[in-house]
Symmetry: C2
């Protein structure tokens, strides 16, 4: 297996195509990961959730990470990691246009991840479900691609050392 | 879709069966996510990597998160989130037995994730690949399960509010 870095353009293409991955947030240096649905546009990833632990943590600390991948086989895959900043898009006059735009982007996609994970939080806050739309402003995007070859695997190398 | 919490036993069964997921670490409250291979045993997840950003970050801050899931369809899935503490198992007399045990666990499994992601770091540190074995001591395990039904999705509910 041969591993190489993906270009910025290739990383963005994966994000645009995948639309689902994992969101990492952190509070007092404790990381927390949840599955997330997103729509990529320019330097932004638009996301949706209801109020819950991840939203509370991101309000307290806007530093976030999103990881997404495409796995074809054990030696043919791509993985992209984004670090960025959380910005909530509240339901007010200032954010009306960007919220409408985000909702139009969501509605063009199959929103099953978004619905799935929001559902639980809605259940927990059954009396007061509060939909939150937010944006992750991407600061750094890196990606790795694996392609098959006849070479030695990392495990082979490591096992020789053990 | 109906969402319910998984029992601790069900969460552990998923971890034992899956063996691959995502590891989250954090430095100065910046989260970082990478794919990870693990072997679950008792309250421990045994993992393998070579020295790189995630190991450096976990040495500085041992608070970590591991997320794993089984997705059958848009309305039938399970997702488990573990928070825990990183402990490195260095190559010394004190850790010899536990390292041997971990390696025997790794060798019983298909180690492709482990090999795949370690490969890149070995490539980057080509002159000095340093295999690191570590354990995540699980502190909290939670899981959610979705099952199909004819109910309204969270997206439906949210869209009525927008």
């Amino acid at each position: 297996m041969r591993i190489s870095e993906m270009s910025g353009k290739e990383c963005r293409e994966l994000l645009a195509h995948e639309g689902a991955g994992r969101l990492g947030c952190a509070l007092e240096n404790q990381p927390y990961i949840v599955p997330i649905y997103f729509v990529a546009e320019g330097d932004s990833l638009f996301c949706f959730a209801t109020v819950g632990q991840k939203i509370e943590w991101m309000r307290a600390n806007p530093r976030v990470c999103i990881q997404a991948d495409e796995i074809r086989s054990r030696d043919e895959w791509k993985s992209v990691v984004v670090t960025g900043r959380y910005e909530e898009l509240p339901d007010d006059a200032e954010h009306e246009q960007v919220r409408k735009h985000a909702i139009s982007l969501f509605s063009r996609r199959d929103a099953w991840w978004m619905g799935a994970y929001a559902a639980d939080e809605i259940r927990k806050h059954a009396g007061d479900p509060i939909p939150v739309i937010f944006c992750v402003h991407m600061k750094q995007i890196t990606g790795l691609r694996a392609a098959p070859d006849a070479g030695q695997t990392a495990l082979d190398i490591a096992q020789q050392k053990w």
